[in-house]
Amino acid sequence: VTALLLALVGLAAGVLGALMGVGGGVIVVPALSAIVGLPFRHAVAVSLVVIIASSSASAAAYVGKRVADVKVGVVLELATVAGAVAGSTLAVIVPVGALKLAFSALAIYSAGMLWVRRNHATEEASAGAYEVRRWPLGLGASAVAGAVSGLLGVGGGLFKVPAMTLGMGLPFKVAAATSNFMIGVTAAASAYVYYARGELDVDVAAPVVVGVFLGARLGSSLLVHLPARRLQSAFAALLLFLGGRMAWEVLGAIR
């Protein structure tokens, strides 16, 4: 029963990840704590493996359908890797609470901007049919995503998708697909570290990964059919929820 529940959690994470360009860790980490009482760091380790699985399953579909912009993805990933190295180094200097507050402020701002601009969302879902602009902004956001990934063990899609959509001019569906292509690589670097430390519980990860593969394949087939305006609004709501929850946690801990 537990394995089936874990597979269902993976299925939900896979669908969400494929549609939004995030890894699904936002579902996996709290669910694992609730279902099997996994400690936070062990849950993050499973979450990183889930991000890789989600990325692998959906990226294969998106690259094949030419929805993901691989050229933009590999260039931004350079900044992400540099950011991840810097993040790992900074982890001992910068207080995690300050980083979480900065993350929540940025998430809430991005949610507002995505919501305001939701009516401008285009249904375009093929890579290259637009002009890519503001590379420095995209590279900067990718570096921040990498640093946060190194510090908090997430894929960084929550930074990449708004930067590509709001800053660089990529249509939402292309940004989500490109983010999916990238986050598996970003998460892999951190996942190796968790695995080497012995914090990855393979018995828990296996059923979740099976669910994620199925969910990501389902989500990637749905993306091109769902209206971009709805997807962008849903992503804004997700950002608002996560940003608000993180700010609440940090401010609650201070009080």
Partner: protein, 44 residues
């Protein structure tokens, strides 16, 4: 699962070089090198 990200990058880099796009091929190769370095550092 652990092998797919570096494999994906290797395939991407090869495809860029084959299609006559060495700049993006180099970018994919550099990301692959960074990822492999992270894996080696974790193993050590």
């Amino acid at each position: 699962v652990f092998v797919t990200p570096p494999l994906r990058l290797a395939v991407t880099a090869t495809a860029f070089y084959r299609d006559g796009d060495p700049r993006h091929g180099l970018a994919a190769t550099a990301v692959l090198a960074g990822l492999l370095a992270a894996a080696v550092a974790a193993a050590l």
